[in-house]
Symmetry: D2
Subunit: 361 residues, 4 copies
């Protein structure tokens, strides 16, 4: 159910409607729009007397929403969600495209700083790199844990890059939340509902990757889990799905980009590295993602992929990444979009704030 307030409704009226909703044991989610505020109602389904709300001052109409997703829906919130990152100019979901780059996993301080410098110089906005790795085998490298998070933090301090990294359970989420700027929920955990709810109680934005065989509706419902707990800063990410096709590791389903944009106001990014699993396909598919309308890319970059502890064959080299950034800018222009300014350029500003508490924490 969805309450659409009148355009001239006051904040007080919005609060009164929320209180009324909560007095019935439901949750109210006020979502301010450009012209009017909508209030999503979630909670135990069943009979709810719309009449009571319709008579309240400031209420425009009460709409019964038939789709299973509510808070993620463009019906509820026609304007795109733009996720802003404090003390930076970077925003996901606006007119500017955002690029996340870095190694599959953080292997050492040296490795992270080397790659961090290279992707920063090429114009990346986020540094990616796993400190907690969900690996198919219990005997594979599982990540450096908190030590990895500390290294990520140093990469941010040195290059001004924002940090996105994966949390795999409640314990790691608590640490990721503390060290990173954005919490990644991986494909294998897209329906780990406990983890989604915990992410929904965080104040840090969430990057939610599509599960390997998730439908669009399931992806949107996973985002709904996060949002229903109060965290509205969710970006979705296509990263390839399982099919019979064997020329790539996964089949990158770029049609998800326009499909998400039609149904939801949430930003949608694309990961051409996991989406293909092959270095020589990352650039073509990265370009294609931008052409399809994606709000950003997340790409694996490694300066020495043959010695990478994970996902070497799908990591591109720093030079290739620079080419990808260049092509991204040009294709974005065709769609009348830009690419966010490099964070390295903005560093001076950031370092001047160094006396204040650490960036975006």
């Amino acid at each position: 159910m969805l309450v659409v307030m009148q355009s001239h409704a006051t904040e007080e009226q919005v609060r009164a409607v929320c209180s009324k909703i909560e007095s019935f044991g439901f949750r109210a989610h006020p979502i301010p729009g450009a012209q009017r505020t909508a209030i999503g109602i979630t909670g135990n389904e069943g009979a709810f007397e719309a009449g009571t709300l319709e008579e309240m001052p400031g209420v425009g109409e009460v709409i019964r929403v038939s789709k299973p997703y509510k808070l993620v829906s463009r019906d509820l919130k026609p304007d795109n969600t733009v996720i802003r990152f404090p003390r930076t100019h970077v925003a996901i979901g606006g007119s500017e495209i955002v690029v996340m780059a870095g190694p599959c996993s953080i292997e050492s301080r040296d490795q992270a700083l080397t790659i961090g410098e290279q992707v920063s110089r090429a114009g990346a906005h986020f540094f990616r790199g796993g400190a907690y790795k969900p690996r198919t085998s219990p005997y594979s490298f599982q990540g450096l844990g908190e030590e990895g998070l500390k290294i990520l933090s140093e990469v941010r301090d040195r290059f001004g890059l924002l940090i996105v990294t994966e949390a795999v359970d409640n314990e790691s989420l608590e640490l990721v939340e503390e060290y990173a700027d954005m919490i990644q929920i991986g494909a294998r955990n897209m329906q780990n509902f406990s983890l989604l709810k915990r992410a929904g109680r965080s104040r840090k934005p969430v990057l939610l990757k599509r599960g390997m065989s998730a439908t669009l509706e399931e992806l949107l419902m996973a985002a709904e889990y996060v949002m229903s707990e109060g965290n509205y800063n969710v970006a979705l990410c296509e990263r390839g799905v399982r099919t019979f096709a064997d020329h790539t590791r996964n089949t990158l389903d770029l049609s998800l980009v326009p499909a998400v944009q039609r149904l939801s106001h949430l930003p949608i990014l694309v990961d051409p590295s996991h989406g293909t699993g092959k270095r020589n396909k990352v650039l073509p598919m990265g370009r294609a993602a931008i052409a399809a309308g994606a709000d950003g890319l997340i790409v694996e970059v490694h300066h020495d992929p043959d010695r990478a502890l994970s996902d070497g064959p799908q990591s591109i080299l720093p030079d290739q990444f620079a080419t990808l950034m260049h092509e991204t800018r040009q294709i974005a222009a065709v769609l009348h979009r830009g690419v966010a300014a490099p964070v390295s350029a903005a560093r001076v500003l950031v370092s001047q704030e160094a006396s204040r508490p650490a960036v975006a924490r």
Copy 2:
């Protein structure tokens, strides 16, 4: 790496080899077989000097295992794993077939006791029913939680049925472990490695369901996660995979049964309810699963499926379940197998033990 002891090796020699392995920082997993003991070695991969072990007394040979799974492998343990349940005659993975039945979710004490009586009378060995439900929508019924577990416990006390129920995170696993006889890890959590490791530290057996798009190797590696923590009582379960086919909710991949049996010593069960999503296909596919060689079935049964809070359309009626038990016995006989005796028949014995601590806990 795998150490195969000589057939006349003493327990002391086995212990000495294990100590040596652990002194190198690895984990030793001694697996007693019918004729000789094998010792699996797991831990950080890399150079390990096999020579040291080969010279130790009682050691037959040291084998480098190339497959990514070790503890689950039939190479390591040629004999089938048989999971026994204390104070009952029921065992999973032996010559007798085991049947688990009950509602999708525990809705109320009445519902559970009604269905519990019916499936017990028809010859089921386990009662299934979710207290924690991983639902696609945050607004769907999520299960009764610990209250549901208490109801399950009562079903066991009343009908002698063993209890299998799903854990969705560490918190629920702790409770499930306490109340149930077997911990179910659902398809959505098959690669929730934190949960798998936690289940591996439990003393209760684990029923591990195949993920919706998991390969055989991924399923075996998920079991490896559980076993690598020391819990060797793992049963696998095919429950249908995602394909383009739309005449069933999932495509039940029965060829997984002989495929698992070839590579692994672990038992393999089949869930024809989730595997098809349609009531009228549960009996044909249940029979087919037994004919393919499955060690057991897990089936959704509801006395009033139209009013079920979840999965009504795929639940069979108690009468249909009785027919399925009958047909299961007949097809098992063709494969020279039996079906474990009904627990209801064994109840007298159990109730005589009533002065002792609660059954199978």
Copy 3:
């Protein structure tokens, strides 16, 4: 559209309704049932005045059929289609199960006679073997062509086995029609509509295999193509579909068996050889197919599979085939079905008819 005649309607009344339908430029397909005759109407869709027919003598009711398939539908013909083969006791789709066996392709007279004798002795009813092979590579063995058909004919003469073999285009269909008892349309040609229509104009029954990614509806519509040309003797065959799963060559979708039986009156067989692509899975899945309710099996058998020119790894040995026949009989009995008597037993009878024209041609 479907005209259901009254139970006491005369043949003349049926004919009159058919004439009326054809006078409007449509085709009438009278289908006699146990109690009443139904008349399917096919042709260019659009407005058709049902009123005219409803008033005709003998007409019970006129039903607008919303499903895209008509002639294949159980709505049109509630009784199972039973395909009979002249001068034999073998019928597909009745209470008795039918088994087809033989090599992937006919390689030589010796090979065919050797295998023919072995499968005949074990109780097979049909001999299968390709004379025209649709091969992925233009450089692979493409079959012996008409010479292969002549060898098949000799197998029939020697062992009394009925012959089923594939036609790949109009030219080969003309020859297959002449030499064989049943025309196979392979998975790759399931939507070769020209070939389907040509098969629909044949008087020989058709075995139609499911395409590698065909939905149930597409399979039924392919059968509809054959039937709409007047050939109502069509048996369907599940042979595995394309999925991400890699432990078998295809994923055998046995749930198609009950799904077909619910919607259609046509018989449904299963091919566990192509359906798994692995010798060690043919017996388990063959048994499972019968348990799921299939009307028959089609199995690849080779006495020397390592030297087979095609599909060796999925061919079972003659001994394994004898075991499969034995288990098929036992599982059929659980479903209150039998297996058709061996044709070899019936041979004496047949050979007594030797003065008459050759068997089943």
Copy 4:
């Protein structure tokens, strides 16, 4: 097997090698390259004495090719195949991108001329439109047949557009070959090997669409069938594959574009209309295809899609097509490619040749 001639080898020497190959009962396929000629050898596999050829004058080396495809392989022919169309400037596979547009099926002369004019004005190079339609249902509109081909011919005469249209069997191929400039083999017939061989004996270029569940290797092998008969002018086309995903009719697998380009010298086009099945996804995916490196697009355009006899929901409007052409030009520029000049501009030239035999027939 592959014979690579020396760079200074004479034509006579090439002919001598071909004769020698054919004298052994094999087929020789000389493929001239920029610097040297390669000669592919196809035919019944097995022992072939390379020594004989190696000693012949002009022979550089004889290479045993392990991949199942030969003539399609970039190993055999490093330079891209460029398919030229007589008396026009249009070429597929060169640096310029080519666009094919038109209705799903030819419904009437008026419809074809209306759409032909619109797509010609927007800059299309080919007019597409089915005269023979492979439809899932025998009761759906099956195309106008030869009448449709005559209409297509008129579209060419009026607007200078080249014509591409589908052949579904040998009969229709003979007519398509006569009327059209390029023969389309549809997804359902990708493994109709009789039809492929027939197309291989045509002198008109072939547009070969990927089957709904075809692997890359199967697609290349299908092209190999055409080429092994002597027709080397084959362009491939990705048109979406079958997966579990339900937000589009098919899943458009754009990674096939770089994958084909790596292994083969053949051009690769993309069909975003069938590839998505939804009008609102055609433009984003059309742009993405060009960004991924496709050599061209084939798009369904209809001026009145709600009344189209087939595929209305996936046809874009003429205005949208003009936008797509505009964006295609811009994205092509990013990849340092152009779009072939509109044929309408070239019409004057063509019409001056009107006294000569009809265009490109």
